[in-house]
Point group: C2
Chain length 323, copies 2
């Protein structure tokens, strides 16, 4: 079970391998929100999202003779790239299982970070069976995207940095807004802040129609989304919170916040214009909540995590002209 000791240990293993991403701010954003907003720009992390931290944490914790056989992950997104680069930097192989119809650019990027990509046909293949066969044949270790204590510990290092950077600025009370998919980042950050910045409250942020975490936090039990796809916030679309992450979130997080797709896109454009960072729509939901859902907060200071920046340039160009 992940705790602050595991998160501190993950940070030691990570060392200078991950970027200590800055806390950014702009008077223009404060003006819109009517309060102080800081953005933890985790989109600047290696591979373009916080997932590199969890990947590094998990790969680096393996026993050397286990690690050298390699790792495997199921992902077509940010987790794939984070695990691939973490493995490559350790000099060990990685296999990433992706659907055949994943965007070509994602497949290319994952390969470029050093992974062997194995494609499966969603209609006819059993993804898990392919993974199990490969793992057994080659002795690969599976790295789950969020329901894995070492991955949660790695994501929790974002929380250690937020506590340090926030306290350095004299911020003792704040809402910390986290884009939430399966809950790996949220639960890691919540554990770190509980230990190191107890005046900070973690709030989950999700796009409309994919608000499984907000509903689960409200009902006290794991709730599922009806749809499994179809949001522009693709990076944070998961069917339901994790079995490990949900109890951590249930004990430590405030009420979940749900934003519209247009709010996420407007936040993405404002991050471009005012903070000079590239954020993907799913990574912008926390900033969107900070900017456009002021009535849901009581503190005068918000720290919003921008969790990833792997946006299609066409999506950005279109949003820049629309908003």
């Amino acid at each position: 079970m992940t705790d602050i000791t595991m998160i501190e240990a993950a940070r030691k293993r990570i060392g200078t391998e991950a970027i200590r991403t800055p806390l950014l701010s702009s008077p223009f954003l404060d003006e819109i929100a009517g309060r102080r907003i800081f953005v933890k720009a985790e989109c600047l992390q290696r591979t373009g999202s916080f997932k590199f931290r969890g990947g590094w944490s998990a790969v680096s914790a393996l026993e050397p003779d286990v690690r050298k056989r390699g790792v495997i992950a199921f992902s077509s997104g940010n987790h794939a790239q984070g695990v691939a680069l973490a493995a490559a930097l350790h000099g060990v192989p990685s296999v990433i299982i992706m659907p055949q119809d994943a965007p070509a650019i994602k497949i290319e990027n994952t390969k470029a970070y050093g992974a062997e990509v194995v494609l499966f046909d969603r209609a006819n293949d059993d993804r898990d069976a392919i993974g199990a066969m490969l793992s057994q044949e080659r002795g690969l270790t599976l790295i789950r995207p969020f329901d894995e204590p070492l991955v949660i510990a790695g994501q929790g290092t974002v929380g250690l940095e937020i506590a340090e950077q926030g306290l350095e600025l004299g911020i003792t009370t704040a809402d910390v807004l986290v884009p939430c998919g399966g809950g790996g980042l949220t639960s890691g950050v919540a554990l770190a802040l509980q230990a190191n910045a107890p005046g900070y409250t973690v709030r989950t942020c999700e796009p409309e129609k994919f608000d499984d975490v907000a509903r689960s936090l409200a009902s006290g039990k794991i709730e599922r989304n009806e749809a499994l796809a179809g949001s522009i916030c693709d990076a944070i679309i998961t069917p339901q919170p994790g079995n490990i992450t949900f109890p951590i979130m249930m004990n430590r997080c405030g009420k979940g916040i749900v934003v519209s797709e247009d709010e996420a896109l407007r936040a993405m454009v404002l991050a471009f214009l005012r903070l000079k960072v590239v954020v993907e729509p799913g990574g912008a939901v926390a900033l969107a909540a900070a900017l456009f859902h002021g009535e849901e907060f009581e503190t005068d200071t918000i720290i919003a995590i921008a969790s990833g920046g792997n946006v299609d340039p066409g999506v950005m160009a279109s949003a820049l002209s629309r908003f």
Copy 2:
């Protein structure tokens, strides 16, 4: 005369007011360049460029009773915003003198950072006379954009950070590439690195047709540009290097590098795609040199400063579709 003691003092005055911007990297960029590239993402600085550092350094060094009367600057660009915000955060007035035909967005932004903007007509008004009159009437202190020791000291704090961050990564020898206009950033960084990372060599980077610094470094005396405007790299177009900055650069910098406008735009797109930062064309010339002028370097490691991010969104959207 600026020296390392003045730069260290500027850093003390700046404290946590400026962002300690990260050093970013991507295997995709290393692959293009055939060597390691790190980008000092100063586009993430408050107001979107390193100019905030120089502005803060100069405003914070004034005697309190002088400072409270306010400051004045001539600029339609990044220096205007840097000085305006530095003054506002000190609670003192700022007057920025801008041409009537400056883009509306730049005038708006400068006002939003707290400045009083005074417009002049390029054809009929004497800009310096307006400034002199206002300064005298109100007791304002002029803050020059680069030929001013306190401003150079503030920009030099970028160099202090590069030395720390580079040495932390084990980099003992590197070319440090700096987008160069009047030379305030270049000379400040050169002084800081000479003291704290003597294995690093500073190289100036400029756009074609505005290569006054490269030519001045080659001839050993101050050379002027023929044109005074007409580059997409508007942030770093100055007629000639400064009288204070040039001797510093002449003593400490390697050969100047000149890139094409298309190279600057391609570097801007690659920074967007691979580093998730928004860089303006003038701010991207150092990364362009790193990526596309490999034959001009002998070291295996380059640290390129991305000096600013205040790009028109239409320019970015068009470049994203073109490259």
